[in-house]
Amino acid sequence: MFLAWQEIKKNKLRFTLITGILMLVSYLVFFLSGLATGLANLNREAVDKWNATAIILTEESDKSLYQSFMSIDQLNDIKADETAVIGQLNVIASNGDSKQNISLFGINREEFLMPDVTEGRDFKKANEVIADDSLKEEGFKLGDELSLSSSDQLLKIVGFTDQARFNAAPVLYTNLATFHQVKFGDAAKQNKDQINGIVVQNDSLSNLTQNDELTSIEIETFIQNLPGYTEQKLTLNFMIYFLFGISSIIVAIFLYVLTVQKISMFGVMKAQGISSYYLSWSVVAQTFILASIGTALGFAFALVSGAFLPAAVPVSFDVTVMVLYGFILMAVATAGAFFSVLTIVRIDPLKAIGG
């Protein structure tokens, strides 16, 4: 560590450049991880809010809530501690000034899908809704009357709840009767038992239903099957993993060049009896120091810049994930010192002193 730190102190510019590159790579990793978390939340936060074990959908729906159609009577086929019915519809809502893609959830007030209201009150009467508070940033407010793209019904915002987006769309919660009115219009009465799924809270996942037409899907599996969710997540994760590789390669190249420049010096040191182990450890320690500083700076810059981003940018920093990625970055960067270590071990002190 002594040799490593002394060299860094003496050659500040050189090592600042390496640290700067590592900082930029780590910043990108942290930012992408924030983006991945933010985009994931955008898709799943309303589902996470359910705090459920599984969802029951029809067998032929291919795990899609929107494509699942069942009768509320099928609740009798479910064996679970807690159940909650849900109807779901994608519509475009407008308050006259703004239009927004939204996801309409039809639920029963007394069941566990009912969200906590952060502003305003619960829906009590027909056509009242609780809205996700991200809609406030789009200009929606309490008391707004919303017209819908596919219905004559007008919905009134009576309350807001937080973290309620489903498949990237803000959710409007309403009762089942209003949901049926929006979805079926004049045929609402005939379809008053129609729902899309049944959400369950249960200790076990097995034997939730014996009905062959229904299937129980674990909540995480349900989320993974939300349209575009897995593809988006895989793409961003691939970029992050690629950046891990890049940081390792960058460090490997820089250190290798520096090591090659110091071959003669290392040779003399080896001739003097300083072991390859000591010299190799010094290079590894040096890499670790640079990687730690670069990663810490990247971490700090990511958090600072995240605080200044407009709300429209879906960045959400999960500090646990960031710390994990930080450690991975430091580990792969340090692994980049491997080639330098190999070079040091192979240095012949005899050549270094001109024998």
């Binding site: 002594f2 040799l3 003496k10 050659n11 003669s264 003399v268 003097q272 009896g273 072991s275 002193i353």
Partner: protein, 238 residues
């Protein structure tokens, strides 16, 4: 007392008709407190001799014994330990680490040698070599002579039995070269080390107790109590 002994040491490179005998069968003995010069032209085998003595190169045959320990029977790790403990190298200016101050050059040795030199001994060494004022300077701030004084301090750090100096004055002008040789002579006598200087600079032999000449891998017998004239006679120049 013999610190260094070479018995029937040979070193050849290559094989068959390409075989080169860099060092022919050599016997050599060096005692404590002796300053010895090995002179000879480039390619004569001086460096081969020095690297074998320093444990950097294994001889083809023969024994190299340092303080009773036979180097030729040891593996590289053990030889490296002997180098660290028993041998101090003085090379050309390149043996200073460019990013370490003079104080840190020595502190590094303190770390790898686990510090067997007391603070008093260390300060005495700085005084003896006239580097006390240079401790905070980097090699690039030092003159050639100052660099070699620091190099000698590094070699002497932790009290080695043997100092091996390979062309220690090669990059110095005459005054600086004599200054370095004076210093080597002084520390050899004061600290009772065995110092072997490999050089092709015959001006330096006046400082040495013994002079050997290396020609085509053959080490001559020692010339003791020589003078420059004796040396030149040996060279066949007068």
């Amino acid at each position: 007392m013999a610190v260094l002994e070479l018995h029937q040491v040979k070193k050849s490179f290559g094989s068959g008709h390409k075989k080169v005998e860099a060092l022919k069968e050599t016997d050599f003995l060096a005692n404590r407190g002796e300053l010895i010069a090995i002179i000879g032209p480039s390619g004569s085998g001086k460096s081969t001799f020095l690297t074998i003595v320093g444990g950097l190169l294994s001889p083809t045959s023969g024994d190299v014994i340092i303080n009773g320990e036979n180097l030729t029977t040891l593996n590289e790790k053990a030889r490296s330990q002997i180098r660290l403990r028993e041998i101090g190298f003085v090379l050309q200016a390149s043996n200073l680490i460019p990013f370490l101050s003079v104080a840190n050059q020595l502190k590094l040795l303190d770390k790898v040698k686990k510090g067997n030199m007391s603070k008093v001994e260390r300060n005495q060494l700085y005084e003896d070599l006239g580097i006390a004022d240079l401790l905070m300077k980097y090699p690039s701030d030092l003159s050639g002579g100052e660099r070699q004084r620091v190099a000698i301090a590094k070699a002497l750090y932790s009290n080695p039995s043997i100092i091996l100096a390979d062309e220690p004055t090669a990059s110095l002008d005459s005054d600086r070269a004599y200054e370095v040789m004076e210093l080597l002579k002084k520390v050899t006598k004061q600290k009772k080390t065995t110092t072997i200087v490999v050089t092709h600079d015959i001006r330096l032999v006046d400082y040495c107790d013994k002079v050997y000449k290396m020609t085509d891998g053959v080490l001559s017998t020692a010339l003791e109590n020589h003078t420059r004239v004796q040396h030149m006679a040996y060279e066949g120049k007068i």
